[in-house]
Amino acid sequence: MDFDRAVRIATEGVPLAGRFECQFESVRKRERHDNGSLASDVFAAVRQKFTKEGKLSYHILFPRCLWAFLPGLFLALITWGRPGDEGRMCVDPSTILDGGAPNDVILDDGAANAQLPDTGRPEKQGLPDENPPVYYGTALTRFLIWIYNLRIDNPVDGICLLADNSPQPSVASFTTLTWRYCVQQFFRNFWSFRVA
């Protein structure tokens, strides 16, 4: 185990390396965009979601006017999807805005994800501190093995497991799977066991 790396992650946070650079005009454009893709009927739901997310220490809410003063700020758009009944808010650092007005020649380089090195491309590999490989192909398998071993070590204890407890790579890659009945049943069994 790489303890030095673990200590760095604990004290410095992640990612351990990265150079993020954009035009201030991109930030201004995104602020003016004002999450324009959001339908007005979901505003209340988004606000409610933000209220709920207040339990997370890394959600720090500021007055809006501060966007103009923070050096190095990247603004992520807010999107709202409806994978289930309750809807899902996504702070989206990937979407790139269009040019907007016909004379608008400012290219939007304010999407933070666009500046992450792509681990899937050979020429961008070798930068694990900036974007560590997560081995999507085996993420779900490893997660299920971990749960299986947890059951072996704790044969009679209840295990509370929800879909959100699965590791982010598996959620990101296998969202469709986790919402399918056959796999959903797998997760739900753990939950049922605890209730029983």
Partner: protein, 175 residues
């Protein structure tokens, strides 16, 4: 400027005056306006330089974020202390974000930030606390919008320092 009026002190005192006293002050010094007065701001806590080098939240030299051109508003913030009151007023008219900024500076002169170090309030269905977010903004302003220093000052769960890392590593080591 406001003539012989020690505006630095006045701004600090102004929020604590009664409404009548505030009106009297405005009558005595018509050119004084708390929004455009001198307000000297200082970080709310010492030790920023040490926190950058050691412990939780320390600066990572390999990680940075920047704009290719600086924000004009941030430059205006840096210039604010050297501007005349009349110039500040003109600047606020020319750059809209500078007006709420001026209000923020006035609040920073008298707002107590100790509550930000207290345990966070329990999240329930009540609305988002505007007072708390405004205090966060004031703290950030007093750190010259240096977000890293601001987070390091908050410390605790904001930097991951609240976990028992020794016990965690002991467990990992025993596996």
């Amino acid at each position: 400027m406001v003539g012989s009026l020690p505006s630095v002190i006045t701004i600090w005192v102004f929020p604590y005056l009664s409404v009548d006293n505030q009106a009297s002050l405005q009558q005595a010094h018509p050119r004084f306006h708390p929004l455009w007065g001198d307000s000297r701001l200082f970080p709310p806590g010492p030790g920023s330089y040490r926190r950058r080098r050691f412990g939780f939240g320390k600066v990572s030299p390999l990680l940075s974020t920047r704009h290719t051109q600086p924000s004009p508003y941030f430059i205006a913030h840096l210039l604010w202390d050297w501007l005349l009151a009349s110039d500040r007023c003109v600047l606020a008219d020319a750059l809209p974000p500078m007006r709420p900024y001026a209000h923020l500076r006035v609040a920073a002169a008298g707002l107590d930030l100790s509550s930000l170090h207290a345990p966070r309030p329990t999240v329930d269905s009540s609305p988002i606390s505007k007072a708390r977010s405004y205090r966060m903004a004031v703290a950030l302003l007093r750190f010259n919008f240096n977000y890293g220093d601001f987070i390091r000052w908050l410390g605790g769960e904001y930097t991951g320092a609240h976990w028992d890392w020794d016990a965690t590593f002991d467990i990992v080591d025993s596996v």
